[in-house]
Every structure is written in C-alpha cells, then in structure tokens.
C-alpha cells in the first residue's frame, strides 16, 4: 500500500502567478539599491581624491551607457520603494487616539513624505547648481 502522497515542493513557485513574480522582482530590485550605492560611493571616493579626479569621474558619468544604467537603477529603486510603501499599513498600522488611520491614507502619507523630500533635494540641487 503506497499510503498518502508526500507533499511536493517545486522551485517554479515564483512563476505561477503575477503576484509571485512581482514579489521576486521586489526582492531582486534590492540589488539595484545596492548597485546605486556602489556608484554613489565611487563618486564620493573621487571627491576624496581631489578636484581633478572628481572632474574625471564627472566625465565618465557623461557616458550614455551610464545614463541608461542610472535610469534603469532609478526605475528599479522607485519600484522597490513603492512596493514597500504599499505594505506599510500591514506592518505598521497607526492608531491616533482611538482613530485607526486608514491604510490608503498611510500609503499616501509615506508617498507624500517621499515626494516632499525629493522636491527639497531637487531644490537644493538646483540652487547649488
């Protein structure tokens, strides 16, 4: 008698549904965050080496290939951030007094804060330039 069928494990789980594929993309997009960090550290390192090294680095950054790399990284980092922002109400529900802040409002709040910080950074950048 063979008895009960043992439970099965399959490694194609991530390809079963879009929900799973997006989760995998969310996890993999963390590499984009790390990748951008490396580019940023290289920039900081060139500043440390002096003015000419920094100027050389800026020249390298003008390479169209690096523009594309930056655009792709920006897209992936945006995706990464927004997926986690969408999960904020699940992980950190907010109760103000007796009022439960609706999830959508929390999501809007963190996205709003993100937008505000981005605008401030952009203004500082434009003023400095």
């Amino acid at each position: 008698m063979p008895g009960p069928l043992p439970r099965t494990k399959s490694n194609d789980w991530w390809n079963r549904r879009w929900a799973y594929r997006l989760v995998l993309l969310r996890e993999l997009s963390a590499f984009a965050v790390a990748g951008y960090l490396v580019l940023l550290l290289l920039l900081v390192a060139s500043v440390r080496e002096g003015e000419s090294a920094f100027a050389d680095h800026l020249d390298v950054l003008k390479n169209p290939l690096l523009w594309i790399v930056h655009a792709v990284l920006l897209g992936l980092v945006q995706f990464h951030t927004s997926t986690w922002f969408r999960l904020v109400p699940k992980a950190m529900p907010l109760k103000l007094g007796g009022w439960r802040v609706p999830g959508e409002l929390l999501i809007a709040g963190v996205n709003g804060a993100w937008l505000a910080v981005s605008v401030i950074v952009l203004v500082i950048f434009l003023v400095a330039a």
């Binding site: 069928l5 439970r7 789980w13 799973y20 989760v23």
Partner: protein, 257 residues
C-alpha cells in the same frame, strides 16, 4: 431551443486530481463533463459528480456557505473555498480541481493536516492568565476598542488556503505558517491574555515570524480577510522593538514587556 433548455444542456469539463492510497503510486487527472448552471459553485459540481457519476471521488466539505473552512482546494491552480468559487468565473473551462498545495494527500482532494494541527497547538491559541481571577470578580471585561485590536485576526476558519498560497510553507518544513501565526498574534493582542512571554520563544524564532518573507499571498487568498501577512509583520516589528529595547541599560517607561 429555449434559453433555459440550452443552459440545462450546457456542460463544463472538470479535470479532477485523483489519487488512491491503496492502489496508486502516482496521482492522475480524470476529466468529467458536468452540467453548467450559472448558480453552481465548484463544490456543487463535485457533489453532482459524486452522486451521479463516481461515488469514489473523495473531498471534504460541510457547510457550503464559507463558514466551516472544509472545502478548500486548488481551483485552476489557485487556493479557493470551492463553495465560494462559481463555475461561471471559470467558463468556458476546463476547470482543474486539485488538493491544496503544500500538504500530503490522503486521497483525491483530501489532504493530511496533522502538521498544521501540531503547529497550531504549539502557538497556544487560547487565553493564558498568570493567575485566574476569582469567579466572584466577574468576567474579564474588554472595551470595543480592545476587541477591535485583534478581532480581524480571530476570524480564521482554518481553511488552509493561506498555507496553500505560501511558498515558504511549501519549502520550509518547520515554518509555522500564516494562520497559526495570525492566531498567536490574535491572543497576544487580546487585552485579557497574559501569555505573550510563553508564545514568544516559538513565535519570534526562525520557524516563526522570521521565516516569512512577506510575499503576502496568504492575505490575498484569505476568504475571511484575516490578513495573516499583517499579523506576522506586526509581530516582527514588536520583536525588533523588543530586541533594541533590551539593549538599553534601562527600560523606557511603558516599554517593559
């Protein structure tokens, strides 16, 4: 032919997972033509099959109204309560019916749930008191707001859809899984309960909340909107806070566990 007569003769193909523990070494799929009725759910079609065509077909069901949590199966690869899955959602078919993923199969769509039953007991899903107050002092009172803190997590009907949707449960034998962790959180959040410390060692372990990678499908498939993913992430936040607070040389007021 009238519309009514046409509906009566219209059929849909059900591809049903078959496995008999006495005779089969491998599962197989058997196709059946079942009458299509707009108001029929997949469970109605299975019941018709069992009554009219093949009495050996095995599956669990009871209330047929989304309360008992017995009739969970994979319908076209997605965990559903079959009493809650209308044939019309899957027309023109075929509709593939399989046992819930991630569990051993006893026979056909009947899964072995022993693993969950043990894990459920392990999280002590009942109210724990350090000291029971004497009966003369009356019941443990709770405000509507205190009830609202955990009510959502108490709606679980143990239908196992969240386990079938969880790739972590599929791959990690030790993982306690969504429903049991949500129920642990349900008692931890209950103002009458004092069992947090007793549940902590297991809940805050790798097999507990930290195996969860927040895929979130457990919450999507839940027919009772329990949101186990939320329960688990909130427990993670608590565990993290508690860890950092334990590193402090003093206990901040109101932060002691």
């Amino acid at each position: 032919m009238t519309t009514e007569a046409m509906t009566a003769t219209q059929t849909v193909t059900l591809e049903v997972f078959r496995y008999h523990p006495d005779t089969d070494t491998e599962p197989s799929y058997q196709s059946y033509e079942v009458p299509y009725r707009e108001e029929w759910v997949v469970l109605d079609a299975l019941n018709w099959l069992k009554d009219e065509v093949d009495g050996t077909l095995s599956y669990r069901w009871s209330c047929r109204m989304g309360v008992c949590g017995s009739c969970g199966m994979m319908v076209n690869g997605y965990p559903r309560l079959t009493c809650n899955a209308f044939l019309r959602e899957f027309m023109p078919g075929p509709i593939r019916v399989e046992p819930l993923r991630g569990f051993p199969v006893e026979r056909d769509m009947v899964t072995v749930l022993d693993d969950f039953m043990e894990k459920l007991t392990d999280v002590k899903p009942w109210i724990i008191r350090e000291e029971e107050q004497p009966i003369e002092e009356g019941e443990y009172r709770q405000s509507p707001s205190q009830l609202a803190d955990f009510k959502q997590f108490s709606m679980c009907i143990n239908c196992m859809l969240c386990y079938a949707a969880c790739p972590v449960y599929e791959h990690e034998d030790e993982f306690i899984g969504p429903a049991a962790l949500a129920l642990a959180q349900r008692y931890n959040l209950d103002s009458r309960d004092e069992g947090n410390a007793q549940r902590q060692e297991l809940i805050w372990s790798d097999e507990g909340i930290w195996d969860c990678t927040f895929i979130g499908e457990c919450s999507t498939v839940c027919p009772k909107h329990v949101d186990p993913a939320a329960a688990i992430q909130q427990a993670k936040v608590e565990a993290t806070n508690s860890f950092f607070i334990s590193l402090l040389p003093f206990t901040p007021p109101g932060m002691g566990r």
